[in-house]
């Protein structure tokens, strides 16, 4: 869960959905995704699954922290998104080195010469801003420039 909780209304924030990620802090150098691991197959899932949807086995899932390194499978820049989203914004299909994949916005992408295959790493950032100013936070990915 987010370890910094702001009280000021103007800087209020909430995660896009509870239990999806953990921010960097004293015990972690980098943020990680919170998902689940099948004890039997070792396969990782994000978001966490109730049972293993591949093997159909239940009772084998345990919580898991997932490392946020990966690469861009495909991407686009949305010029006019829905209200509250930071248009223009870049969004990409990300393949994580750890196995799972997801669709997420990119951070610090302007001037990064986006391309498929580009290395990225997980950051926690603002996905959208609600009408009352609340920042909705979640996983985003930052191009790794000096790989």
């Amino acid at each position: 869960m987010a370890e910094s909780v702001a009280s000021d209304a103007a800087t209020q924030q909430r995660p896009i959905r509870p239990g999806l990620f953990v921010e960097a802090g004293e015990t972690r150098e980098r943020p990680r995704l919170l998902g689940s691991r099948c004890r039997k197959s070792g396969q990782l899932f994000w978001p966490a699954e109730r049972m293993n949807p591949v093997t159909h086995e239940s009772g084998t899932m345990e919580p898991a922290e997932i490392e946020g390194g990966g690469h861009i499978v495909s991407y686009t820049v949305v010029q006019r998104g829905l209200p509250g989203y930071p248009s223009p914004y870049a969004i990409a299909a990300i393949q994580l080195d750890a196995g799972p994949s997801l669709i997420a916005q990119l951070e610090d992408w302007q001037g990064a010469a986006l391309r498929t295959g580009m290395a990225v790493r997980l950051v926690i950032g603002t996905i959208k801003t609600e009408r009352d100013g609340t920042r909705v936070t979640g996983p985003k990915f930052q191009p790794v420039v000096d790989a």
């Binding site: 959905r17 010029q79 969004i91 990409a92 916005q105």
Partner: protein, 379 residues
């Protein structure tokens, strides 16, 4: 298996209709279909109503306007494939012997949109992350361009073709021809898709009266046979909808070809799921009209135009006719019914005998898509 036939079709104009209630639109389409079929309301054994956003007991609220009450009325939601799902429901009810005559309705009213986007679905993670539908298809386009060298110009040609087809279809939302240059120069929505690469958000309704062989003979001297009615649901896949092909369209079309005993070369006319230009290029390949990677050339060479190898979306398709979600799948089959009877007017495909309707519905996180329907009709 017992044969099933379309014996009547009805459709409203597609496009913004702020003055009309969605139940009235759907009823107008349903009543027109019943009138064309010559079927008395009391003879309808079952109804399926497809829609995505129109609320509970939609079909009952529509059909009660004509006093069609009491029989089983089932409401089905499968996003853009809701209409195809409603048709499948009727076909299966008739094949099972539970019904002789059924009506499939599809309708949607979307003219109070969220700035041109579909209403946000808060429970889908990809949508919450900002993956609007144009972004999903833009990422497909990026993959197809990178892998096969498909060009922006080729994608624009899909919009040019479907807009041109639409000029001859008075029911279309978009009634203006566009050039490749205009498509490319239109405001960018999600690179490489410009505003003219995206379908409009429309209001509209369509309906089909479908009958067993015995009932069809009684009402219609020239019924059109439904040779295949297939629906598949999406598999879990790593990147969801982001792919340079639609595997579920491949699976659904192969099942449909097998059921009909036909192949892609037999198809004369196709109403295709083309919400974005890139989708039509990818689906030429999925449906077997050309090899993987050749979709761009297929449109560039005019092979999907009326008069080409297979006329794709002669009605104007989703891109130009419009896309009232639940209506679309039913409307596609109504278009084929008219094409195969030779009464499609200005956008008639000469000599069309075999038609294929294809819809894909629902952007769902970590699924290929929600559902894909393929129907094959034979004159």
């Amino acid at each position: 298996m017992s044969e099933v036939y379309v014996i009547g079709a009805g459709m409203t104009r597609f496009g913004p209709q702020p003055e009309a209630g969605v139940h009235d639109l759907a009823f107008d389409a349903a009543w027109a279909a019943l009138e064309e079929a010559g079927v008395e309301p009391g003879k309808v054994d079952i109804a399926f109503a497809g829609h995505a956003y129109q609320g509970p007991c939609f079909g009952q609220k529509v059909l009660m306007r004509g006093g069609l009450t009491g029989m089983p009325i089932l409401n089905v939601e499968n996003a853009c494939a809701s209409g195809a799902s409603a048709v499948l429901g009727i076909v299966q009810a008739i094949r099972s012997g539970a019904a002789e005559i059924g009506i499939a309705i599809g309708a949607e009213k979307l003219s109070t949109p969220a700035g041109g986007f579909l209403p946000t679905v808060a429970d889908d993670l990809d949508s919450s992350m900002g993956r609007v539908m144009p972004a999903a298809f833009a990422m497909q386009a990026r993959l197809h361009m990178d892998r096969y060298g498909t060009t922006r110009e080729q994608m624009a040609m899909v919009a040019v073709k479907n807009r041109r087809n639409a000029l001859r279809n008075p029911r279309c939302h978009m009634q203006k021809e566009v050039t490749i240059e205009e498509v490319l120069a239109a405001p960018m929505i999600a690179d490489p898709l410009t505003r003219l690469s995206c379908c409009p958000v429309s209001d509209g309704a369509a309906a089909l009266v479908i009958a067993s062989a015995r009932a069809a003979r009684k009402y219609n001297p020239r019924p059109v046979r439904i040779a295949a009615s297939v629906l598949v649901s999406g598999l879990r896949t790593p990147h969801g909808i982001v792919d340079d092909k639609s595997e579920m369209s491949i699976r659904a079309s192969r099942k449909a070809y097998e059921a009909a005993g036909l192949g892609p070369d037999d198809v004369d006319v196709c109403e295709m799921h083309d919400p974005f230009t890139i989708a039509e290029i990818i689906h030429y390949e999925d449906l077997g009209f050309c090899a993987p990677g050749e979709g761009g050339r297929f449109v560039e060479d005019g092979r999907s135009a009326i008069g080409g190898a297979v006329a794709v979306s002669p009605s104007g398709g989703l891109l130009a006719k419009g896309h009232p979600l639940g209506a679309t799948g039913v409307a596609q089959i109504a278009e084929l019914y008219w094409q195969l009877r030779g009464v499609a007017g200005g956008y008639q495909v000469p000599g069309a005998r075999v038609g294929l309707a294809h819809t894909v519905g629902g952007g769902v996180s970590q699924l290929e898509s929600g559902a894909c329907g393929v129907h094959i009709l034979v004159a």
